[in-house]
């Protein structure tokens, strides 16, 4: 067996047939992981009803529901895409700085608080979306607002 050369042919088996016209089209988000992570809390802030709706639909379909939850899924995608588009129009430079920092720092949020502060400020002023971590202890400063990040490697990004 070992003498046989490995032949991978999965990459040519990607079906490119589009969805039928009976299903409404939706443009996918098309953002990579770092911009998504950077905008995650804003997506959560604006799209919570849609997200909850979709997840409830999936739960009620016993975790499947690919067909049943398509409508909710389209709403979720449109909402998330709208957040990304709004952040791009109003806070493009801050957004870009933050997600590039995340990209460079292994997507560790605590390494990029300087850029995150700017981004949160800009997004709050323009879009009225605030980053809130649910379930955080009420008597402490939320971890993303602390002046000193004890696990950050670089003072320049703190």
């Amino acid at each position: 067996m070992a003498a046989r050369a490995a032949r991978f042919n999965q990459q040519v088996l990607i079906d490119t047939t589009p969805l039928p016209d009976s299903i409404p089209k939706v443009k996918e988000i098309g953002a990579t992981s770092a911009p998504l992570l950077s905008a995650a809390f804003f997506i959560g802030a604006r799209c919570k009803p849609y997200n909850d709706d979709y997840m409830m639909c999936k739960t009620e379909a016993n975790g499947r529901g690919e067909l049943e939850c398509m409508k909710e899924g389209r709403r979720v995608t449109r909402c998330a895409a709208s957040v990304i588009a709004d952040v791009n129009t109003h806070c493009l430079s801050e957004f870009r700085k933050h997600w590039m920092c995340l990209e460079n720092w292994n997507q560790q949020l605590w390494q990029c608080r300087r850029f995150e502060r700017d981004l949160n400020k800009c997004v709050f002023e323009n879009l009225k979306l605030e980053k809130v971590i649910p379930g955080a202890p009420a008597d402490e400063i939320p971890v993303h607002l602390r002046k000193r990040q004890i696990y950050a490697h670089s003072y320049a990004n703190m």
Binding site: Q11, V12, L13, I14, D15, T16, T17, P18, L19, P20, I23, V26, E28, I29, L36, L37, A40, F41, I43, G44, C47, Y50, N51, Y54, M55, K58, R64, G65, E66, L67, C69, M70, E72, G73, R74, V76, T77, A80, L109, W110, I133, P134, G135, A136, P137, E140, P142, V143, H144, I150, Y151
Partner: protein, 119 residues
């Protein structure tokens, strides 16, 4: 003949105790200092654990907020593939065939190779 007698007033006391100066502080101070260092260390450790918990919470929630969007995209892709597969099957076989004696959805094990693929 006079006898050999001790000197008047007796011999001087013999020094049998060691006369070394005690170095450093009293032991109790060292104990206190070590206890202080340990307390400080545990205090900082506890702070770090609390901070890590909060950072973990932040990471979890960032993912929780993203899951529906990612899952919706993936589901749409699955539906697209499934419908394309069914359409292909209908085209090839003329009718939709049921492999299983049940209406339950069974994830297909094999798929017909599509005509239009990447590369």
């Amino acid at each position: 003949m006079p006898q050999d007698m001790p000197p008047v007033g007796g011999y001087e006391p013999i020094q049998y105790k060691r006369n070394l100066p005690a170095r450093g502080f009293r032991p109790a101070y060292y104990l206190l200092a070590v206890a202080g260092i340990m307390t400080y260390g545990f205090y900082k450790y506890g702070k770090g654990v609390r901070e890590l918990n909060e950072l973990g919470r932040e990471k979890m929630w960032s993912r929780i907020h993203l899951i529906p969007a990612l899952q919706a995209e993936e589901d749409r892709d699955q539906v697209r593939r499934m419908l394309a597969d069914k359409a292909r099957e209908r085209e090839l076989l003329g009718a939709e065939t049921k492999v299983y004696h049940s209406d339950r959805f069974v994830r297909p094990t094999f798929a017909v190779v599509p005509e239009n693929t990447t590369d």
